[in-house]
Symmetry: C2
Subunit: 256 residues, 2 copies
């Protein structure tokens, strides 16, 4: 499942993200201790523990000992809640990233690995469609800032700096998504990736025509055997990151 964010009035969303209003609540009933932060923290904890699918308004309200509709006092809709969750989780990036003392390449690699670690901690981040209109809160901007710093001083202009960071970030997200999908598939079916591949490969062998797919016939089994699956995201991450950095090096240094 993927959920949409970026609905709703931009001004409203931004003031929520930066906690501009936080109305210092006055008259209210039982659920005295509630606040935007408490709601968001509970939502993040729930998503971490049981996946994004478990984050329904009713369930979240139950976790907070509150009626479902009470949440709407603190958050205009679920889409905005997701924005807040994303920004909150991305705020952890700074703690996972240590730039080190190397050049831009070492820094950019560290950015990619920190991102990867972030997605391992909060896999549900990859199921929220944040591409188009990211929630421009403190967490998102912190990550963006550190990513840009990694490619600063390389002689690239501003537009290229942004493009390089976006490229690396997109690569990491896409590859990490592979892990999420595999875990989801394992949980949904009760069959591990290796078991699935072992069940699939022999049937597939008999079903398809080697003359129609000669290159697949040659390459597929070797690759499948090497990763014991149709796809190994961790391998793909290491391989892709090296290629990507080589390609960026051509742009930055004029050669690899």
């Amino acid at each position: 499942m993927t959920e949409i964010t970026g609905t709703g009035d931009p001004a409203r969303s931004l003031s929520l993200l930066w906690r501009l209003v936080e109305p210092a609540p006055r008259g209210r009933g039982a659920a005295a201790g509630l606040s935007v932060d408490r709601v968001v923290d509970a939502a993040v904890a729930l998503a971490d523990a049981e996946g994004l699918g478990a984050v329904s308004m009713r369930r979240l309200a139950t976790d907070l000992d509150v009626g479902a509709m009470t949440l709407y006092t603190y958050v205009p809709a679920k889409a905005e809640l997701l924005d807040l969750m994303v920004d909150s989780a991305l705020g952890e990036f700074a703690a996972l990233y240590t730039p080190g003392t190397g050049g831009w390449r070492a820094r950019l690699e560290a950015v990619a690995r920190a991102s990867w670690a972030l997605y391992e901690r909060h896999p549900w981040l990859l199921l929220v469609a944040a591409s188009g209109r990211p929630p421009l809160g403190p967490g998102v901007l912190t990550k963006y800032e550190l990513g840009l710093q990694a490619v600063d001083g390389t002689g690239l202009d501003e537009v290229a700096m942004d493009a390089v960071f976006t490229l690396v970030e997109g690569f990491v997200a896409g590859t990490a998504r592979g892990v999420v999908d595999q875990v989801a598939a394992e949980e949904a079916t009760g069959i591990t990736e290796t078991e699935w591949w072992e069940a699939t490969a022999p049937i597939l062998d008999r079903v398809f025509d080697p003359e129609r797919f000669p290159t697949v016939t040659r390459v597929g089994p070797v690759a499948g055997e090497a990763q014991q699956a149709a796809y190994d995201p961790r391998r793909a991450f290491e391989f892709g990151l090296a290629r990507l950095l080589d390609g960026i090096a051509v742009l930055v240094d004029g050669a690899a």
Copy 2:
């Protein structure tokens, strides 16, 4: 929204994908003309026209003038239907791809552009989580075959050939996903990307601390201005593809 595929018994899925059984129906009632192909074609048409969100079993059944439960005669569950849709749509790849007469780089670029075109025709493909356990039907294998042929004869071993194709494919999918998310956001909010950016940028300007985000302060506005949005997927595609091919060239040719 993202839907899960790869549920269900692999053997059953494969025989559906390759249409191994197609039981030559005997005794039945009103909906005589139905078949797996007709169901899948209708589902693809519906997803093309109104998005993956419109593809519910009830709606699809209505389009086919049939009761909702009738679909389960032809397809074990919605997950398998999605597998069939994906494989069917990916089968169009061959028609979009012309390898040309250049070297591996030109071929690989053509693969990437054909993939991009495929995702433009069937954006819902990007909302189906196919990463982990792809539906290994004729469509998927056709695309895989052509992709591998593009990097054949480069001296790369089988595992590397697979890794290169996967890397390019993942890049295209990730970037195309940006387009899908933007279109979805526009439809959900009624606000275009440019309008959203114009509403967001000035508020953001006032809300955040330039000393805390110095690099963002310098880069963000320039990049934002250049693309009239927080993110321009088409630009990202051209930029990223060039970097990626440069990086692969380092592996293949030993230099760019």
